[in-house]
Chain length 100, copies 3
């Protein structure tokens, strides 16, 4: 079975951002995304502010490296300063690379 | 602390497939699975069809390499042509390998 | 874009443990966590007992290696014998390491 490597980009943030982030993600070249509802706790931009939201979302995007970096940079510039948001990336093997 | 490496196999697909996929996953040798409800967007089999489902599921399976490959091949043959489905794999460290 | 490596620790367990686990995770030094509701099947401590819970949770924690190991050891000692619980870890790239 042939497999290829792609990036799995996971974004955890406030659910109020769902619609605008989905638009950004598609505009920046991702072919799909998956959203799950979540809750949790983290630290918002300024270190002193705690981000404790019951209505968070988790967005997972599988895409090529260039697209993953573009999305990460875009989010860091536009949302990190004012929203509770974390983002992490790892490599995953996929079967049909043309889908991503 | 001893740890071993296993495969984390993640399947994102239409929720209508939940029952049949769970049966397949168990029959192919996985010792457990976790399902979360999700929503998202992707591309279905034929490149022109967009898969935009509010009722998707995410199934995560931690298992050995052989089982992960068997599940992936089975899904690719039986469901990829007719359902919205993506699948990706990565290595994870587990503490009690006999559980997986 | 600068990125650093952190551990992604994923715990899947019975939802009844949510409050106590969140307390443990914070006490052991993690700066945040994300919880999603899940369902699934696994094997409980004694190999003969099947853990089949509709109300499970998935907790994801991104933290440094030392904190991840401390949490994993704590959970293994305190909860593995009596609760349905699995735990797996992998490396992820993060953008703002000071958040984790």
């Amino acid at each position: 079975m042939n497999s290829s490597t792609r990036k799995l980009l996971t974004i955890i943030t406030e659910s109020a951002l769902e619609r605008v982030l989905v638009g950004d993600i598609e505009k920046l070249g991702a072919h799909g995304y998956t959203i799950t509802d979540a809750r949790g706790k983290g630290h918002r931009g300024p270190r002193t502010a705690v981000w404790d939201e019951s209505s968070n979302i988790r967005i997972d995007v599988v895409c090529d490296d260039v697209t993953a970096m573009a999305i990460a940079e875009h989010l860091q510039v536009h949302y990190y300063p004012n929203y509770g948001m974390i983002l992490f990336m790892s490599d995953v093997a996929v079967l049909r690379p043309e889908k991503f």
